[in-house]
């Protein structure tokens, strides 16, 4: 692939990615206040966000476990996740809980 084709390819993908993000956002904002979604649709749309986070978490943890070369790496994942739960319970802050989990994960990898 020459430079021109490469530039055309990334420009096309960039435009497509932008439109995938932009058009649903635009149409939703444009229709704000005029929509009368049924209860079923409203509940389904409200479930998309939490469901997406569960799916992202599943994919991310799957990738970590799949790449783990030793059992200590899996132990580190489990302890790191537990630390996030404990951190969220006692620190009550998303960022602090995240860093608590990363700290425990890294220390476990270092020590085991």
């Amino acid at each position: 692939m020459n430079t021109t084709s490469f530039l055309l390819t990334i420009a096309g993908i960039g435009l497509g990615t932008f439109l995938i993000r932009f058009l649903p956002f635009y149409w939703s904002l444009k229709g704000q206040g005029r929509r009368t979604l049924s209860g079923s649709w409203r509940r389904a749309i409200n479930a998309v966000g939490p469901a997406a986070i569960v799916s992202l978490l599943t994919v991310a943890v799957w990738g970590l476990v799949e790449k783990a070369a030793t059992s200590s790496e899996i132990v580190a994942v489990v302890l790191g996740m537990a630390a996030v739960c404990v951190g969220k319970r006692y620190l009550r802050d998303v960022a602090a809980a995240t860093f608590a989990g990363v700290l425990v994960y890294t220390l476990t990898l270092y020590l085991l």
Partner: protein, 229 residues
């Protein structure tokens, strides 16, 4: 009001940035190894700005793919899950407090920005939401592009960096997703969340992650809608 809320968004992006930087760095290094020039790697991150899609693009280019339409089609398919995100977030931006163009709001809407926004926007005053969201998403973009640039232009220097540090960075996003889930879980039915996780995990056995995610989201949304009838 906009600059203060923007700075709050920048601050709240730090966990995302800590996850983006090493992945962007890895992309820059991988792009050089795949035969791209440093400026090409940087251009891909600046124009496309979509992690999984960019890595797939690299693998297609490395495999000798030369059909522009085929490559673009495959890469865009990976991003179709983003179709769901705008409609979910749009209700959090009341018309009376909207000043920024929608294109500016949508351009850097990634998985992580969506997840963090879902957690935070409802807790902010309506007049601070746009500024916060802009700070969050554009800090993520700047971090990603910076990581790619450093990886692409200084690939040789970074190749020998600490494995432990790279592993630690690799755990940031999973930890962030779990923390966000713990924040949102009480607001959602357990069966809906369990369906999303189970459908995604089962799908991962048979298909790539981007398709598994779509199946997980659609299955959970379908269940949530069905329970209302």
């Amino acid at each position: 009001m906009l600059p203060i809320s923007f700075l709050k968004g920048v601050r709240d992006c730090l966990p995302i940035a800590a996850g983006y930087f090493p992945v962007g760095l890895s992309f820059g290094i991988s792009a050089i190894h795949a035969g791209l020039d440093p400026w090409m790697a940087l251009a891909v991150s600046m124009v496309i700005y979509s992690g999984a899609a960019q890595f797939v693009l690299l693998s297609l280019l490395a495999a000798g793919g030369d059909s522009l339409w085929a490559i673009a089609g495959i890469v865009l398919l990976i991003n179709t899950r983003h179709l769901f995100y705008g409609p979910v977030l749009s209700d959090r931006f009341p018309a009376a407090h909207r000043r920024l163009p929608v294109a500016f709001m949508a351009a850097a809407l990634t998985d992580e920005v969506f997840a963090a926004s879902l957690h935070k926007l409802d807790k902010l005053p309506a007049d601070q939401r746009e500024g916060w969201y802009a700070g969050l998403q554009w800090t993520g973009y700047a971090t990603w592009v910076t990581g790619t640039g450093l990886g692409a232009y200084f690939a040789v220097d970074f190749a020998g960096e600490s494995t432990l540090m790279m592993q630690a960075f690799g755990f940031v996003l999973p930890a962030l997703f779990l923390a966000l889930l713990l924040e949102l879980a009480p607001l959602t039915r357990y069966r809906v969340l369990a369906t999303a996780g189970a459908a995604t995990a089962l799908s991962l056995l048979y298909m790539p992650a981007y398709l598994a995610m779509i199946i997980g989201i659609v299955a959970a949304a379908a269940l949530a809608g069905r329970r209302e009838r």
